[in-house]
């Protein structure tokens, strides 16, 4: 009952900022989850088949349901929405609940990105001010800064793609860094053996298909790999730069200066301006605001601005609100890209 009242109070506050309350489908087609997150996430779903053989599942999060609603209703204008309810996921931890109570709010279909990013953060701060939590930290980051850094590093293109793709997955990202630093992904012995087969295959029909890939696709990639090898020494240097970048943490207002010093030190020819930071400074004594290059993303779909608000509960800080921009989410579901920014409140913080 207490949680229900709290939810209603929070929703009223969000609505007062012009967000329209919507109902989301509790069930969605499993294929969308598979497209977005692959097989591993699928195993956490409560899925089942309808009588026509279509695989459905209980929604594992609210954002995906909301974005699907926007696309399927063929909306083209800006849409400011909020919603609440449970998201359902299997868990291996006994203490974790299979129902995650969330409240979300987002702005879809607007190209005024900086303004909308600011609005989402300001709404989050308003919610924090009315939450009853006295001490909090707002952490802001931007995925694009990392992408800029990687673009300028002297590493093969395939490595740039890898690093950008797994920036969100801390555990695997660290494993990738280890590989970048030490061993090579090209075995010279194998390359020599395969070179003769390469020449033979090049003379054959390039449209021939082996397990879904044409000879041309296979050979072009092979060619690209051996022509663009990674040097062990540059691997070490680049890993060092990335690790140093991920340690950048400072007051938000100092972030451009701090980053520019870093980029200059490594001769990366990158200049950072205000465009990467939706807000600059806030006058709120109880809220510490910091910039960090290594915010835990926990989701692969964030594409630029990300933020989280942690509140002090007992002796520990716990996540209260997190969000960011996810313009590519619809694209990963098989639709055209739609500008989208939003945040979700983890109601379990009130447990």
């Amino acid at each position: 009952m207490k949680l229900k009242n709290l939810s209603e109070k929070i929703l009223r506050l969000i609505k007062s900022k012009g967000f329209k309350n919507i109902e989301l489908d509790p069930v969605l087609e499993t294929k969308y989850i598979l497209q977005r997150s692959g097989e591993n996430f699928k195993r956490l779903l409560f899925s089942f088949y309808d009588l026509n053989g279509k695989e459905l599942c209980l929604r594992p999060d609210l954002t995906i349901s909301s974005v699907l609603r926007f696309i399927q209703n063929k909306k083209i204008k800006k849409d400011k929405v909020c919603y609440s309810g449970g998201a359902f996921r299997k868990t291996y931890q006994k203490k974790d609940s299979i129902i995650k109570n969330q409240i979300g709010f987002e702005i879809l279909g607007s190209n005024d990105k900086q303004k909308e990013d600011r609005e989402i953060i300001e709404t989050s701060i308003k919610l924090l001010n009315n939450s009853g939590f006295k001490r909090a930290v707002l952490k802001i980051g931007n995925v694009e800064l990392f992408n800029l850094l990687v673009k300028k590093l002297d590493i093969p293109r395939r490595w740039k793609i890898r690093l950008k793709r797994y920036y969100w997955n801390e555990k695997y990202f660290n494993e990738l860094l280890k590989r970048l630093e030490t061993n090579s992904d090209i075995d010279p012995v194998f390359v020599e053996i395969d070179k003769s087969r390469f020449i033979k295959m090049r003379k054959d029909n390039q449209n021939k298909i082996i397990a879904g890939r044409t000879f041309k696709e296979i050979l072009d990639r092979f060619d690209m790999k051996i022509k663009d090898p990674r040097r062990a020494s540059s691997g070490k240097t680049n890993t060092k730069i990335i690790k140093e970048f991920l340690k950048v943490k400072c007051k938000l207002e100092n972030a451009p200066e701090r980053l520019n010093i870093f980029f200059k030190k490594h001769n990366l020819n990158i200049v950072v301006g205000k465009e990467f930071f939706p807000i600059n400074k806030l006058n709120n004594k109880n809220l510490k605001i910091e910039f960090s290059t290594s915010l835990p993303l926990e989701a692969e779909f964030y594409s630029s601005m990300i933020f989280s608000i942690e509140v002090k509960k007992g002796l520990k800080f716990r996540n209260f609100i997190s969000g960011g921009r996810y313009d590519q989410l619809t694209n990963s579901l098989g639709f055209k890209s739609v500008p989208a920014v939003g945040a979700a409140i983890d109601m379990n913080v009130y447990d």
Binding site: G38, E39, A211, R213
Partner: protein
């Protein structure tokens, strides 16, 4: 079933059956069937309270988890592939030096550009972006394969359940790559497949397993001691 009787599940077919029977033979335990070789029930001479049931190796794991058999012989791979509810009712008492095989990830040999999982991850990404579909992996081991691929950073794939002859899947349009159990790699090679350099998912061997639901059976413990000495 009589409460203190011991039910033992043995593999019903092939090399694993023969090697398991040899374990009993070495301990001078003579297994016999009243109705000949096709009889799926057996006894051990001079041990009337022990009943032998010949089962498929996968079935052996299931029956152990249900407590219908107390002791069973099967592959480590099959135990690790089974559901968490099944695994928590079974404990391994001994690993043997037979039934050795590896669960591996194999790709078409002509995919020259793919040597490691990092390459595979890139190709999986290409499938999603350019071909607008996920890379398919045919396997009889969906749980182990999924966990392995994800732990190595390959996330964009779809599993296709295989019931047999998994090696042909990449060439019949069922999947692009496979994961399968192999002891020498000869069958994979004969079917134009190659194991990825870092594609070993699990090392397996024959195991003696016991049902945790049978822990109160006194005679079971002494029989296990006899077999493991």
């Amino acid at each position: 079933m009589i409460k203190d009787n011991i039910n033992i599940g043995l593999p019903s077919k092939g090399r694993l059956r023969q090697d398991t029977l040899d374990v009993f033979k070495k301990k001078r335990l003579k297994i016999y069937s009243e109705r000949g070789e096709r009889d799926l029930f057996g006894r051990i001479k001079k041990l009337p309270n022990i009943k032998i049931i010949f089962l498929h190796a996968r079935e052996c794991i299931e029956q152990l988890s249900l407590g219908n058999i107390d002791l069973g012989f099967s592959g480590y791979d099959l135990l690790k592939e089974s559901t968490i509810n099944t695994q928590k009712n079974i404990s391994i008492k001994k690993k043997f030096n037979f039934g050795k095989a590896n669960l591996v990830l194999a790709i078409p040999d002509l995919w020259l550009d793919v040597q490691t999982l990092l390459d595979l991850d890139e190709v999986a990404d290409e499938f999603k972006k350019k071909k607008k579909r996920l890379l398919r992996v045919a396997t009889k081991y969906p749980n182990l394969t999924r966990d392995f691929l994800y732990s190595k950073g390959v996330t964009q794939f779809q599993l296709v359940q295989s019931l047999g002859s998994t090696e042909v899947s990449p060439f019949t349009g069922t999947s692009e790559i496979i994961s399968d159990i192999t002891s020498t790699g000869a069958t994979l090679k004969a079917n134009n497949l190659r194991i990825l350099k870092d594609g070993e998912i699990l090392k397996s061997e024959a195991c003696m397993m016991v049902s945790k639901l049978s822990s109160k059976k006194k005679r079971l413990k002494s029989f296990i001691n006899l077999l493991t000495k």
